[in-house]
């Protein structure tokens, strides 16, 4: 297994900075996620770790050993690619056993280990199938089995769920988590899906424009986003600037911006409620039914505030045009730092 350390990694293409001063420490056996929008540099960093790209500067250490100049095959890292990269001219068995074969393992070991890995991903019966005869989910599991067969020190998963449908994504995500926990392999998971990242990871690094803007546990990142970008990217949020604090009765807050999650705001129809102290008056301009919840878009003077009300079955929904009263509990107010301060943090 292996702990990983990225020390001041910089990378640019044609003068455009892709990665800027990346510093991360990943613990042994941890499932660590690189989360960010497309083009933020997370896959580039993964490829630098795998040895497929060279950083312009900075070093990478695995178990304390500097591997920056190591060729890919010497790093003892396995990668599951977004499109799986299963060799089309080999069947399932040949794909999974490939890594063992090129390492010169004995035939008996190859057979036993391949069978074990296929069993692990519940594909034992499909060993002789051609790759193009498999479904997307099966191909994904073959890719995982192939990566695990060589007993890697580090497992890299580059958006491995992006080609699966929603239901399969959900089950596969849990299978990956279980497998990782059981084997204890240090795993880096790359995704742009914040829900996926939050449900699977021990820790998350949030990328934005080639920088890491936040590294922490999923709970801490969600509850204390610290920056407007993180607050907006992870979960839904209302960002209110200092100049608007008075409108929301927040003049006591000492910050440039604050973030309030939609589900933290209390809302009631003005006609049915008394006027609570500190209440904010607004008018519903749009509503979205989301199954388990209703999202109201409420216009407060010129600002639109999102308010989420969980659907408990018995509540009557309010319709657009309704005047409402809202209250923001003090525990729901999350202070936002300036961009630079957030990055430094």
């Amino acid at each position: 297994m292996g702990s990983i350390r990225f020390n001041q990694i910089f990378k640019s293409y044609d003068g455009q900075v892709i990665l800027h001063d990346i510093r991360i420490e990943i613990n042994d056996g941890e499932l660590f996620t690189f989360l960010g929008p497309s083009g933020c540099g997370k896959t580039t960093l993964l490829r630098i770790l795998a040895g497929f790209e060279k950083p312009d500067s900075g070093t990478i250490e695995i178990n304390g050993q500097d591997v920056t100049r190591f060729i890919p095959e010497k790093r003892h890292i396995s990668m599951v690619f977004q499109n799986y990269a299963l060799f089309p001219h080999m069947n399932v068995f040949e794909n999974v056993s490939y890594g063992l074969r090129v390492r010169g393992a004995a035939e008996k070991t190859i057979r036993a280990k391949t069978a074990q890995c296929l069993d692990m991903v519940s594909l034992y019966g499909l060993a002789q199938r051609d790759i193009n005869e498999l479904s997307g989910g099966e191909q994904q599991r073959v890719a995982i089995a192939r990566a695990l067969a060589v007993s890697p020190g580090v497992l890299l998963l580059d958006e491995p769920l992006s080609n699966l449908d929603a239901r399969l994504r959900e089950t596969t995500k849990m299978e990956i988590r279980e497998l990782q926990k059981n084997l204890g392999i240090t795993t880096i998971f790359v995704t742009h899906d914040q829900q996926e990242a939050m449900s699977i990871s021990d820790r998350i690094a949030v990328f934005h424009g080639g920088r890491i803007v936040r590294t922490d546990s999923p709970e801490d990142i969600y509850n204390h986003p610290q920056s407007a970008f993180v607050a907006g990217f992870i979960g839904e949020s209302n960002i209110i600037e200092r100049k608007d604090f008075n409108r929301f009765g927040l003049s006591f807050v000492d910050a440039e911006k604050i973030c309030i999650r939609p589900q933290d705001i209390q809302i009631m129809e003005a006609a049915r409620a008394g006027y609570p102290e500190g209440g904010i008056t607004g008018r519903i301009i749009r509503m979205e039914f989301r199954g388990s919840a209703m999202m109201y878009h409420v216009l407060v003077e010129s600002i639109i505030i999102k308010v989420m009300v969980f659907n408990t079955g018995g509540c009557r929904s309010m319709s657009p045009g309704t005047t409402v009263l809202m209250a923001i509990p003090s525990h729901a107010i999350k202070t936002i730092m300036s961009h630079n301060a957030a990055c430094e943090n």
Partner: protein
């Protein structure tokens, strides 16, 4: 001194080798021929030879005839190719898969064999011509298989293939939901054809027209063997060469090459502009049933008739290869059939020599062309800079050099000892045909390897390296097996083209390297049609065996509907 990297050394050596090959065998012949047409006894440049070309009525007639044949061939091939593509890919018709395979055979059958077979069937003494005359008790033969109509007939049933394959691919790539969408807005089938289907296949038809035009204007075997005095540029070139008017031959070569190059430039412009569906997910095209019964019968009849004209020469070649030529000379139909022709060809060294020559030269040319194509494709893809773009241009250039012009260029460039050939002359040597075959096929071979290389997903390489394989292991176990079909495809195309090549061979062959295509025509002129047909069957058989072996090994030449 900093250490020199081994990759840099290999790169420099390969570049040097490629520059030498391109400069000597492609650029030098072109510029030497151009120089020959513009040189004067004194200093300076003169265009007298071009003035003389346009002053001679035979030349302007040949030029006009060439362009006429080009345009007429395009129209006829379009009718046949597009119709057959719709028959096998658009309409729900019977035996579509089998017919598709038969139609594709024109890709691998050397043109000269088909021309000779057509002569045996449709010429004045041909079997079909005489049979029709006898059946209908005619005094005269029912048609003349010669001149403009003869050439056009041969072109139509041998050069339809570009229209056929490109239209078929376009139909296959059509998103069926576009048709369903148009129908849902109330468009009739006819309206759907003109609003959806025709705009979709138009680029394919356009590029096929240009390819076919380029092929038709540079065609040699049909005008030479069937033309009967119908002057075309390709035959005029041979005429000038035989009269030892090499400056006029060179001028004719340059003019024909100019036509060909202009056509190819327009082709590559439109080829780049060909639109592709931007839709992420397209709905596979479903073949359309022909609801009207009379129309169904009519379409099937027309398709089977076209198929008859395409298949009959091959059947003719096989049947006549067993005929006793002497019995055939006395009657319009051969009376005696035996294995004698085969026994003669296979047992008598002198008669078998052309088969051996062709096989050896085709294999050598295919091997060398493939090696060059692999190197150039690797460099073009790896180093996407000015030099690699220039290299790409020079690899594409031979496509614009018609076979007949290439022959004259090579004679003109290499008929004396040249320092660039280390003080050797190439004309009269065994290798000149191999070089010519390579130049003729290098574009098509390198396109095949280039496509295979550029389609290689680099993540396979990364996956392999990540699993512990080194560069060499990754190359042998992953890269090569995946790109192999493209390499083999290129090799097979060059081999098949070279095996029955006639045009360049007619200009460049010598006593030692007489290829089977020349032997076929010579046997025909010696009234030994049985032997000629046997040569034809052997070429087809070698091609079929070769392609089958390749197909078994790599599943390369897959024919799909």
């Amino acid at each position: 001194m900093p250490p020199v990297k081994i990759n840099q050394v290999i790169y420099t050596v390969l570049w040097g080798l490629l520059i030498y090959i391109i400069a000597v065998f492609i650029i030098f012949p072109v510029f030497h021929t151009l120089w020959q047409t513009t040189r004067t006894d004194g200093a300076g440049i003169s265009f007298n030879s071009y003035r003389m070309f346009f002053a001679m009525s035979v030349n302007t007639l040949a030029l006009k005839n060439t362009l006429r044949i080009g345009v007429a061939t395009v129209i006829c091939c379009m009718a046949v190719g597009v119709f057959m593509a719709f028959f096998t890919h658009y309409f729900r018709t019977r035996f579509a898969k089998t017919i598709h395979v038969i139609l594709l055979s024109a890709f691998v059958l050397p043109g000269v064999i088909i021309v000779i077979a057509f002569i045996q069937l449709y010429s004045e003494t041909g079997i079909i011509t005489q049979s029709l005359k006898r059946i209908f008790s005619l005094n005269e033969i029912p048609f003349k298989f010669a001149g403009f109509s003869g050439i056009l007939f041969v072109h139509t049933f041998t050069q339809y293939v570009f229209f056929y394959i490109n239209t078929a691919i376009a139909i296959n790539s059509l998103d069926y939901s576009l048709i369903e969408s148009a129908r849902s807005f109330g468009a009739s089938r006819c309206r759907v054809f003109f609003d959806i289907i025709f705009p979709h296949i138009r680029p394919a038809v356009l590029t096929s027209s240009l390819m076919t035009f380029a092929l038709a204007v540079s065609s040699f075997s049909a005008p030479y063997l069937v033309g009967r005095g119908y002057r075309m540029m390709s035959t005029q070139i041979l005429q000038s060469k035989m009269n030892n008017q090499m400056t006029m031959a060179a001028t004719q070569v340059m003019i024909l090459m100019l036509i060909s190059m202009m056509t190819m430039m327009v082709y590559s412009y439109f080829n780049r502009k060909q639109f592709r569906s931007d839709t992420a997910k397209i709905k596979t095209f479903r073949r359309v049933p022909i609801d009207s019964r009379p129309l169904n019968v009519l379409i099937h009849f027309a398709a089977y008739l076209i198929l008859f004209f395409i298949v009959i020469p091959v059947i003719g070649i096989i049947g006549l290869s067993f005929a006793d030529s002497s019995s055939w000379m006395l009657d319009i139909f051969p009376r005696r059939f035996s294995m004698d022709n085969y026994i003669q060809v296979l047992s008598r060294g002198r008669i078998f020599a052309p088969v051996k020559n062709s096989l050896f030269m085709a294999l050598t040319a295919a091997g060398l062309a493939t090696t060059l194509a692999v190197i150039t494709s690797t460099i073009i893809l790896k180093y996407q800079n000015f030099q690699s773009r220039l290299l790409n241009f020079f690899v594409m250039l031979p496509m614009a050099i018609p076979a007949s012009t290439l022959g004259i260029m090579m004679i003109s460039a290499f008929n004396e000892k040249r320092s660039i050939l280390f003080n050797h002359s190439l004309v009269g040597t065994y290798g000149i045909l191999v070089v010519a075959y390579i130049i003729l096929s290098i574009t098509i071979v390198s396109r095949s390897t280039y496509t295979a290389f550029s389609n290689f997903n680099r993540e396979y390489e990364f996956a392999s390296r990540g699993l512990g394989a080194g560069k060499i292991q990754t190359f042998c176990r992953i890269f090569f097996p995946i790109v192999r079909p493209g390499i083999i495809n290129g090799f097979a195309l060059c081999f098949m083209r070279s095996l029955g090549e006639y045009t360049v061979s007619a200009l460049l062959y010598g006593v030692h390297n007489r290829p089977v295509s020349i032997a076929m025509v010579n046997a025909l002129h010696d009234f030994d049609a049985g032997i000629s047909m046997t040569y034809g069957v052997l070429i087809i058989a070698m091609g079929v065996v070769f392609l089958s072996l390749i197909n078994m090994k790599s599943k390369t030449i897959q024919v799909q509907i």
